[in-house]
């Protein structure tokens, strides 16, 4: 089997200790939560931290709290998020995203924080050491060229987190703790559209929690495109949240695409054009087309590029029609092998 490289393991028990360890170890240290992303990457030598800081023993990361909105600890597992009735009821998009991540076994280990900080993906990069060596590696690790676009100066690896688009559509903020100063920023601001430095998080910062605002009046949904009913990363994620006014018109809306760039893509033009309108077929089609145009996938995931681009519009349409109240369960079942709301 593939073996992990040699590394030092530290197991602090408080967030403050973690922050101090990170401050003193520098960028050679990485935290591990569920390990479902980091450990396979280490086995393939994509990531080779000298020190690994385990978060398992940090109880504070596993707390959640009601306020005006909902506060979720970064260490909660995706199974826990998926089963949380508050999430299911008020933050539908997050529920739907969480339960579609990977497979049940992985969700039992995988954490919310790890999902948000998930490494970007590319099928020239997510390969074992020997494979990457035989292609002379690539810009993201040990090499010079980007095989997806050899002329590109930047890595185009794909943001593949399911929960991030949903959380951004829900207006989430994240809290980053550091030994000296801590900060809070909108989740959108956590991401860079760059496959290598895809996070604005600094190496010594620990993501401790996610803050969701009050969701009264909002309805949200998450649609995921992937080859199979389980197990696969998204090749497209569509998160949409709509606040309806009393007359059934759209008061506010957010649409976020996942897996079409190195960061989640907020498509404000499409969302803004919904405001003040009813979700008629025509309006949905126009918004879907606008949003679909923003999808600029690269040829580094499953499925053929032009097809992925072409169907983005359809999936935005599915999401909006579902929010309007259409019964989309058959389409959902056919494409994702999942049923919600029973």
């Amino acid at each position: 089997m593939m073996r992990l490289p040699r590394f030092r393991y530290l197991a602090p028990t408080t967030t403050q200790e973690v922050a101090e360890v990170l401050a003193s170890e520098g960028p050679d240290a990485m935290v591990v939560a569920g390990g479902t992303d980091l450990l396979p990457n280490m086995k393939r030598r994509q990531q080779t931290p000298k020190t690994v800081v385990g978060l398992k023993g940090v109880a504070a990361l596993r707390e959640s709290q009601n306020g005006t909105g909902l506060r979720l600890g970064a260490g909660l597992t995706l199974t826990e998020i998926g089963e949380d009735p508050r999430v299911r009821e008020h933050y539908g998009a997050l529920h739907q995203a969480a339960v579609q991540v990977a497979s049940p076994h992985l969700r039992n280990m995988a954490t919310l924080g790890g999902n948000i900080c998930l490494d970007t993906r590319c099928n020239y990069y997510d390969q074992n050491y020997e494979w990457r060596k035989s292609i002379n590696f690539c810009m993201k690790k040990e090499g010079e060229t980007c095989w997806v676009a050899p002329a590109s100066k930047r890595c185009l690896a794909v943001s593949s987190t399911d929960t991030a688009p949903a959380l951004i559509a829900l207006g989430a903020k994240v809290h980053l703790l550091a030994a000296r100063e801590s900060r809070e920023l909108s989740l959108e601001e956590l991401y860079n559209n760059d496959g290598i430095s895809y996070l604005t998080r600094r190496p010594h910062e620990l993501l401790t929690r996610v803050e969701l605002p009050d969701a009264t009046g909002w309805k949200s949904t998450y649609w995921k495109l992937r080859r199979r009913g389980s197990f696969d990363f998204p090749v497209l994620g569509v998160a949409a949240a709509v606040k309806f006014d009393a007359g059934g018109g759209v008061a506010d809306a957010r649409i976020v695409l996942g897996a079409v760039a190195s960061s989640p893509i907020v498509v404000s033009e499409a969302a803004e054009m919904l405001v003040g309108k009813e979700l008629t077929d025509g309006v949905i089609e126009e918004a879907a087309e606008k949003a679909g145009r923003k999808a600029k996938p690269m040829d580094n995931t499953d499925f053929v590029l032009h097809w992925r681009k072409r169907v983005a519009q359809s999936f935005v349409g599915y999401a909006l029609r579902e929010l309007r109240g259409d019964d989309m369960s058959e389409t959902r079942w056919n494409t994702a092998k999942i049923r919600f709301g029973d």
């Binding site: 089997m1 593939m2 073996r3 992990l4 490289p5 040699r6 497979s103 099928n123 997510d126 390969q127 074992n128 020997e130 494979w131 060596k133 035989s134 292609i135 002379n136 060229t145 095989w147 050899p150 080859r227 199979r228 009913g229 389980s230 197990f231 696969d232 990363f233 499953d302 499925f303 053929v304 032009h306 097809w307 072409r310 169907v311 359809s314 389409t331 056919n334 494409t335 092998k337």
Partner: protein, 818 residues
Amino acid sequence: MSDGFNLIGKARRRVDGRSKVTAGTDFADDLSLPRMLHCKLLRSPHPHARVKSVDASKAEAHPGVHLVMDWTDLPIEFGILPVSQDEQGLTEIARFAGDPVAAVIAEDELTAFEALDLIDVDYEVLPVIAEPTDSLENPEPRIHDYGEEGNIHKRVSLRFGDVDGALEGADEVFDDIFFFQGNTHLPMEQHASLAAVDPQGKLTLWSSTQTPHYVHRALARVMEMDPAHIRVVAQPNGGGFGGKSDVFNHEMVVCKAARVLGRPVKIALTREEVFYCHRGRHPVLMRFRTGVTKSGKITGTKLQTLVDGGAYGSYGVASLFYTGALQTVTYDLPRYQFQGCRVFTNKAPCGPKRGHGTVQPRFGQEIQLDKIAHKLELDPAEMRLNMLAKPNSLTANYLRIGSIGLGECIERVVKASGWNERYRNLPDGKGLGLACGSYLCGAGVAIYWNDMPHSGVQLQVDRSGSVTVFCGCTEIGQGSDDVLVGFVAEVLGIEPFDVRCVTGDTGMTPVDLGSYSSRVTMMMGNAAIQAAERMREQIATAVAKELEVPAGRLVFANRRVFDAQDPEKGMPFRKAVNRAEAMLGTLGSTGSYAPPRTAARFKGGGVGPSPAYSYTAAVVEVDVDRTTGWISVPKVWVAHDIGRTLNPVLARGQVEGSVYMGLGEALMEEQVYRKFPSKLSGAYVHKEPSMLEYKSPTALDMPEVFTELVEDPDPNGPMGAKEVGQGPLLPIMPAVANAVFDAVGVRVDEVPITPEKILRALDRKAKGEEGRYGPESFPEVRWPEPLEVPPPWDGGDGRAVNDPDRKRAAKLAEVKSS
């Protein structure tokens, strides 16, 4: 159906079921021996390169490393077929990216892995032969210095009757080109092997293998040892599907290392390495030209196949012949021509995967029939029913068919799926497709020529009443141990729990050729029945004497032996065994099986004959979205002619497993390569050697399956049984393609059938072009002069009339006699 059997036909828990689900089964990687060392292989990063030198000094100096080897340590070539001895334990010429060139043996896997990077290999990089068209166009550089010419491994041309005349005389001729993409087995268990040498120097290899007997033979050759001093143990395999039926380089490497170091050496492959072992489905391009009458009878078919073999011979010559062998056993095919060509390319070697070589042309044939039915405005089910091959007949290419339950299979799936009401009547986007298939129950000829049995079974009966059965067959998850125990228990009237089985061990069990070509139930089953019947006779002799009843009146059932006319009169099995041992001495018996002689007497006629053929029909329902091309399969109906069901739980498992695997091949699986621009890297690598990105369906993607077993006992089958392990796979892929046509009116003439291909076909149709996605042409191949074999109805005797070798032999005989 139990027909007075004790066990046969009754659903039971398989004999190894509990240990499989409670981690009680030792797979090869579970084995560990004191002082065991670990092995890792350095694999070539280049798709085609000669190893000029290997400098291992740095690796050898790495703490914990015991040995580094290269091809000079294992120079002798081996291969599964006697005609393709083209592999080395460590290769001098890397023929695909992933071909092993050096090995490190160290204290642990991590150390061995680290040392790989310290080996300096000096390569002479050679030009790449990437695709079959490259192989045809570029005779140089040759990937192998054997084969027909250039990079053509093997060509075949066979003609059974005046097929040109048959096409000319047809009302309509259909000419279609299809492509079946390669795919791999994906067994859950990754191959592992452990080798140890005892103090006397005898070698034992425990391995994940479907063919311990062939591994045994190859080891003797490569190790230059007396085979009597080698023992190969096939550990239970965590799935095989043909992927573990070759002899592998890693097996050679650990054996050699164990002999050099005098310590046990183990290797456990990673998933990537399993993709490099491959031996999976050959990519096949094919052209079918078929003549039909207006009423839908076939007058003749001409088939051409271009078979992409990858880097080595493997079973390839057989695979090639199989692409042309079984077209004749399902439907009446009076005139038939087959031309096939296998080429070498710089990709991981292809070989046998479930349905070996017959799957690809079955895909083409069944889609073409659907096109014919559509054009002639016939119902595809009825058209097939009107052209079924006849039971107990000889085909145009001299295959002897026994029982055929295909008609009943078709009728059952037609009924269950509501075909007559729903086909062509479902709403747009929904469709039904029907297809059939047939498969061998064991290859009629062994891999190397010999006149010994194909399967042997030994029985030992103990005073305690326990029975131990020994057989070289290998349990690869398919349930062969259960079949073996089941037959013995059936004949002796005892419980499966009373029988212990020892299998797949060349040091302890009589030879069985291995778990491939669906041969085990047929051949091992017949051998086991013979051994058990011989044992029953011995016991009956003693009991008859004791009870003073004629032996012929004794019944063995419920762990008793008793008088059929007076069931009270009898004794427990254990006592009967004791009486027999007292009378006859230590109890033992043997049984063996060799398939009937084949009717084919022409060159190449050794591939295709089998003691019996199984049949399957399937209807698949699909749902296709016109905007995205997204396809899903809500339901599958499948009926399989199994001859006789032994354990229905296992039989249904095989059918459903075939549906699962078939849907994977139909919809997503593909073993494909990625070529990098030569001025940047020149790499040519397996695109996705991982279980995450090589897409195969998950449990959630599995549709509802309606399974029926049709029982048309075959006279050659053990208690009438035929195979069920491979046949049910065959109709699934073409049925999906046919259903897509019913759903949205376009044809995808290749697998995998992906949303984007459907969408492209829909786009073309919308533009007024042919609504089809698939290969457009078949390249020029210089075919040899066909061997002319007149079919039986043209007065043929199974021989070729123009075989140059035969003519030469005849001439020689003439010269001698004059």
